[in-house]
């Protein structure tokens, strides 16, 4: 039986460090995924990390973010854990495809943000989130054929 491919990253919770982390994660995405799916996952992982830095730590820094990736035969699993402020449950549940349901013809009313969690939900098949008040972990799964 093949051993699942595993990787672990420790990411400093600064916007400056995120670019390097996302590039490293991009290199860990399963090669058997199509290009569009790989792009969607790269974008989603960037949004997860950015959300932690900007909202979890409010840009003030803190303990490193721990990211683990495992490529199982039937799923690519990512776990992202941080010690910042947790994402409010209601905000997580409300995020979805509605974020993209704007009126494309009404330029003045276009959203300039609020896409992050919706992009995460669009890219991954499973998005679970738990927090014990000290550590928050987002569990993400992408099914593999």
């Amino acid at each position: 039986m093949n051993t699942p491919a595993r990787a672990h990253l420790t990411v400093l919770p600064t916007l400056h460090d995120l670019g390097r982390a996302v590039q490293a994660l991009q290199g860990l995405l399963p090669a058997r995924l199509g290009e569009a799916e790989r792009h969607a996952l790269e974008i989603a992982l960037c949004e997860v990390l950015t959300n932690i830095v900007q909202h979890g730590f409010a840009g003030t820094g803190g303990a490193p973010i721990e990211v683990s990736c495992v490529e199982h035969p039937h799923a690519f699993v990512v776990e992202v854990c941080d010690s910042g402020r947790a994402i409010p449950r209601a905000r997580l549940e409300a995020a979805g495809a509605d974020a993209f349901a704007f009126d494309a013809g009404n330029i003045a009313a276009l959203p300039e943000g609020g896409f992050g969690l919706a992009l995460v939900k669009a890219a991954f098949d499973v998005v679970d989130y738990r927090s014990d008040g000290r550590v928050n972990c987002m569990h993400l799964e992408k099914r593999l054929a």
């Binding site: 569009a36 792009h39 969607a40 276009l110 300039e112 896409f115």
Partner: protein, 113 residues
């Protein structure tokens, strides 16, 4: 750090990010730099993203802000979309909002016409 490479072709300002990744660490400054061009009178802009390898929702939001700032007094045409950058436009449906053409020449022609 210079964030933009700006040239002028047939009276059109052609703006290209001078970075390969436009994410939350850069987006506010990018937005500010392009808005300064608009405020200085460049109201017909071609945004050439051919050199951009990655764009996140913060960077895309900066482009939306520019589009909104131009409003009815100007125009923005985006070109050079590819890879993850093109994917983000499609995933967010912003490809239905922006005028998008393949290359810089088409963008300038569209704006100069």
């Amino acid at each position: 750090m210079e964030l933009l490479a700006v040239s002028r072709e047939r009276g059109i300002a052609v703006v290209a990010p001078a970075v390969k990744r436009l994410d939350a660490s850069i987006a506010p400054a990018f937005r500010q730099a392009v808005l300064q061009l608009v405020e200085a009178g460049d109201t017909r802009l071609a945004l050439d993203l051919a050199g951009l390898e990655f764009l996140d929702s913060s960077g895309l939001g900066a482009m939306v802000a520019v589009l909104k700032a131009l409003g009815s007094r100007g125009a923005l045409v985006v070109c050079g979309l590819h890879g993850a950058v093109q994917s983000l436009f499609q995933l967010t449906r912003m490809d239905k909002v922006f005028v998008i053409v393949p290359g810089r020449d088409e963008a300038v022609t569209r704006l100069a016409g």
